[in-house]
Symmetry: C2
Subunit: 181 residues, 2 copies
DNA sequence: TAAAAATACTCCATAGGTATTTTAT
DNA sequence: ATAAAATACCTATGGAGTATTTTTA
């Protein structure tokens, strides 16, 4: 599997349109079309619900989309790392989705964080628990604080923000390749 | 870049020997040799310090090794996900490296964890802060509790285990593709 | 001399292109 | 008629193999 073909697939999922996806990848439509077929062959499953236009991703396609994004993020990180854009110490913007009930608790977490890494910005967004799940899936947020009991979270690593008080909502970091865990 | 070639490279880094790495990948030595060259060409940098035998990885090679493992872990996760081995709810074994000074504190973290996910085992290892860094890099442990001040940790996501008490050692989860953070 | 890696070469799969067809709107 | 995707076909890159050479221990 070529990493570049994963890119094709992710673009296709975003554009929902072979032609536009191909354009964004700077390849022709047949090339992208063929590459997606190859992906499906290699994984031996359907990724796209095809009519005579793009219709949707299959459930398996959604999974490939998720991990594909993960792999592409790693791949980008590698290039950032190699081009020395890392520089040690945390920088950038951490986007967190927080349910309304957890807003007061959020500052407890962020306070220590900003104290240690002043170059990192934290953006707090008030969001519903469903939006938080979606935001994590779409990489629109990097983490969140939400409920664990209502809808089980997918593809995330969860931990209690304050271990000895279990009645608080739990914090969730974006999903990871976490091996056996 | 073929994901399979990343596998070649990671195997080579582990075996420190082209022939044995090739064997583990079920390819011939020249094939692996050529693939590594191609990787170097594509990234436009040297990965291996070559004499007329394998000598070491270059610093860039170490970085590629790290992110390569990450990508392969994601790729494996994808396959696990597709073959329905996920099953929801955490299971497996979480291996944590803990400095001696943090051992008493570790139970605070693990207590809530095991209460919520009884099917997950937690293995606590008393380790030096250096061993913890190495263990994280080698994927021999999944996370740890260690010092942040002495030697800065590489490739990890850090957070304080108990936000309002900053004098405690910090917990570190294994590194992730964490976008802008 | 033996072992390790690179090199030379061959073969074939396939990535990517252009041109065209099919089908639904 | 138009737009979207698939198909057919072509070319060239390069992945993987075998055989061989080079170099060092």
């Amino acid at each position: 599997m070529l990493i570049r073909h994963l890119k094709f697939f992710v673009m296709l999922a975003e554009e929902q349109h072979f032609g536009r996806a191909a354009e964004r990848c700077n390849v022709t439509q047949p090339t992208l079309s063929h590459a997606i077929r190859k992906l499906e062959d290699e994984l031996n499953l359907g990724l796209i619900v095809r009519g005579h236009r793009f219709l949707a991703l299959t459930p398996e396609g959604e999974k490939v989309l998720h991990w594909g994004r993960q792999i592409l993020a790693d791949y980008d990180s590698l290039h950032d790392d190699l081009t020395g854009r890392d520089s040690g110490g945390l920088t950038g913007r951490l986007r967190l989705g927080i349910i309304l009930a957890a807003m007061p608790a959020a500052s407890i977490l962020t306070e220590a964080f900003v104290a240690r890494d002043p170059r990192a910005e934290i953006e707090l967004r008030s969001m519903s628990s469903r939006s938080i799940q979606k935001g994590l899936d779409n990489f629109e947020i990097d983490g969140g604080m939400t409920y664990l009991d209502n809808e089980p979270l997918q593809h995330v690593r969860c931990f209690p923000p304050y271990p000895s008080i279990t009645s608080l909502p739990a914090a969730a970091a974006t999903s990871l390749p976490d091996g056996p865990a």
